[in-house]
């Protein structure tokens, strides 16, 4: 069964009363959403809270709408975006850069010390570069190159047309390259 067919099956089953079906959807997407949220909030505990809220809101949405959802994955990302925004609005916090401890908390360390140091340095550079992008551009780069979403999927997440996403992504890459060149 294709991915989207299985999602529809699981959604229908969960609405019908099979809560374990929604649990299966959770298992399928929790890591993706968690990683996306971590890239945005930069804090493990906050990322966990936000991620949990995303899935609860997703259930509330599908159970209240009870209509066919073409792309559940896109729905999750859409909800995640909104929850992250709400999170910062309510907490009045700004997104912080990864500090040493923050990076340690979310990044899996390898056993090889030399590789670990280089790996962490590279990652820190990546995150620092991302932080210099605008919010929209940062999100585009994360969705495209970290979450590996297609243009069409990103359009679904952001509620834009494919063309608009393509243009915006082009601009984001342009800005990113300029920043990378400066480092």
């Amino acid at each position: 069964m294709s991915g989207k067919f299985s999602d529809q099956f699981l959604i229908a089953s969960s609405i019908a009363g099979d809560e374990q079906a929604f649990g299966t959807l959770y298992d399928k997407y929790v890591e993706d959403i968690y990683r996306f949220v971590v890239m945005r909030v930069r804090n493990t505990h906050q990322a966990q809270d936000v991620t949990a809220e995303v899935f609860l809101k997703a259930w509330q949405y599908v159970s209240s709408q009870k209509k066919y959802i073409k792309d559940f994955r896109a729905l999750l990302y859409r909800i995640a975006r909104n929850v992250v925004i709400d999170h910062y609005r309510s907490s009045q916090k700004e997104m912080t850069a990864f500090d040493e401890d923050g990076l340690e908390a979310v990044v899996d360390t390898s056993s090889d010390i030399v590789e670990n140091i280089q790996h962490k340095d590279d990652m820190r550079l990546v995150f620092q570069t991302l932080d210099q992008l605008s919010d929209d551009h940062k999100e585009l780069i994360i969705l495209r190159y970290a979450q590996d979403l297609s243009i069409k999927e990103i359009a679904g997440v952001q509620g834009k047309t494919n063309g608009a996403v393509r243009v915006a992504l082009h601009r984001a890459i342009k800005q990113l390259k300029a920043l990378i060149a400066d480092t």
């Binding site: 069964m1 019908a16 649990g23 949990a52 609860l56 066919y68 073409k70 990378i180």
Partner: protein, 465 residues
């Protein structure tokens, strides 16, 4: 850093970032707990939470892309929404002819479709076949003859389809299934169930034949007015009881034939109905003859499934280390042989009686009942007996390794009794429901002078329809 490297590092960061399993599990449980508190979940009836059924149904509709996803979703949701849960209940309780009967059949197909093993599929199909018999019995209690005929036919056609599918699955399992236990279990289930089904089906056929006989001779004043009871209730009073297959005995293929018992119609309580006109009576009679032909197909399908189950069971029993299983195989074969012999004797005596009464061919064909196939020629009956004798001889050697040969002899005897010229399937004579079998399926059909022919055609020809 170049952009390509940046992209790689960004992608790598995703792999490096992972949540703790303990958190994932806790969050999952918390999520499901919230779901269970929701009114959507609370208001879903318990039956809807039957994951085994509905999940399978949904899986089928989506996985097999039977419908476009949006349509499938809408259909599923309408079926399981609060106001429509009763629809599912109603569908399950429906009978042929009811508005929801097709939904019921669709749900059954879906269940089979999502079953994960051939064994489970066969188990479901044999259970559904049993449901068809129950449905027909309910119809016979309720409906008038005119109304019930197409409905019974619908149920019986589905019955034949399911049993033919069971037979194919048994064949496949016998060849491919590695678990001896599974194969023995399912073949035994099918064998026992088909034995019962044959008995029930013969009773149903008998009831319908009696009705038909009343229709054919209403002016002769031979009919008695009574109600049709549930199968088996009154039939014990009739002559057929002496020759009807013993309950729960191994199914005898020959017992599913359509030998006439014209005399029985005069003694068996039947329902008398007024018919509007001779033309209507003739149309009704033709329809019922078609129904009897469908029943013959159904009996043949039962018989084929029964023989296949015996073959598969014996095949596995031969290599089984369990003496109990081996003995069971021997017992099943013995019962089968005994039944065949008994039915041969009965068939011959009925043939003699029918000939003596000078019954018309049409009555011979249509007034079939629980009797073995009409063995047309003495040489055929002696050949059948020879094959049976050979089977018994091999069985007497008590050599487990030769049990397969005994089954082959049994099949050979059946083939001879059917009047088949060769053991391979004759498509002209085979009912559509019996594809895939190695022996002709004309066993339950009337034969003309030892020549296999399509029962429906011959019946129609005899009635000029």
């Amino acid at each position: 850093m170049r952009f390509s490297r940046f992209k790689k590092q960004l992608a790598a960061s995703q792999i490096a970032i992972s949540s703790k399993e303990s958190w994932r599990l806790d969050a999952r449980e918390a999520l499901l707990a919230e779901i269970r508190k929701s009114h959507v979940w609370q208001e879903a009836p318990a039956v809807v939470r039957d994951r085994a059924f509905f999940s399978q149904l949904f899986h089928t509709l989506f996985a097999q892309a039977i419908l476009k996803p949006a349509v499938a979703f809408a259909l599923i949701f309408s079926v399981v929404s609060y106001s429509s849960v009763s629809t599912v209940h109603a569908a399950r309780a429906s009978l042929p002819g009811d508005a929801l009967y097709l939904v019921k059949l669709g749900l059954e197909s879906a269940q089979v479709g999502v079953a994960f093993s051939e064994s489970k599929k066969a188990e479901l199909e044999i259970a559904f076949a049993t449901s068809r018999i129950e449905e027909v019995n309910q119809i016979l209690k309720q409906d008038t003859r005119a109304a019930s005929t197409p409905h019974i036919e619908q149920a019986m056609k589905r019955f034949s389809t399911d049993l033919n599918s069971v037979q194919k699955r048994l064949e496949k399992m016998g060849q491919e299934e590695k678990s001896e236990e599974k194969v023995l279990k399912i073949s035994k289930l099918v064998n026992d169930t088909t034995t019962k089904l044959e008995t029930d089906l013969l009773v149903i056929k008998e009831q319908l034949q009696d009705q038909n006989s009343v229709l054919e001779a209403p002016k002769a004043g031979k009919t008695d007015v009574s109600s049709i009871d549930a199968p088996g209730a009154d039939s014990g009073n009739t002559q057929e009881s002496a020759v009807r297959p013993v309950e729960n005995e191994s199914t005898e293929a020959s017992a599913t034939s359509t030998q006439t018992l014209a005399g029985i119609s005069t003694t068996t309580p039947v329902v008398a109905e007024e018919v509007a006109s001779p033309e209507d009576a003739q149309i009704q009679s033709a329809a019922e003859n078609d129904l009897l032909a469908t029943l013959d197909s159904a009996l043949n399908a039962v018989d084929q499934a029964n023989i296949k189950s015996l073959e598969v069971f014996v095949g596995k029993a031969q290599t089984s280390k369990s003496e109990t299983v081996q003995q069971e195989a021997v017992d099943k074969i013995q019962k089968k042989i005994d039944k065949m012999e008994k039915n041969i004797d009965t068939a011959l005596s009925e043939k003699a009686r029918t000939t003596a009464q000078d019954a018309p061919p049409s009555a011979t064909i249509t007034a079939s009942s629980t009797q073995p196939v009409l063995i047309q020629t003495p040489s055929a009956s002696s050949q059948v007996q020879e094959a049976i004798d050979e089977a018994k001889k091999i069985l007497d050697t008590k050599d487990m390794g030769q049990l397969g040969q005994v089954v082959e002899k049994v099949k050979e005897a059946k083939a001879i009794a059917e009047g088949a010229e060769k053991p391979s399937q004759d498509t002209e004579t085979t009912n559509p429901s019996t594809s895939g079998t190695s022996t002709p399926s004309a066993f339950n059909q009337k034969t003309d002078s030892g020549k296999s022919s399509d029962t429906g055609t011959s019946v129609q020809e005899s009635f000029g329809s």
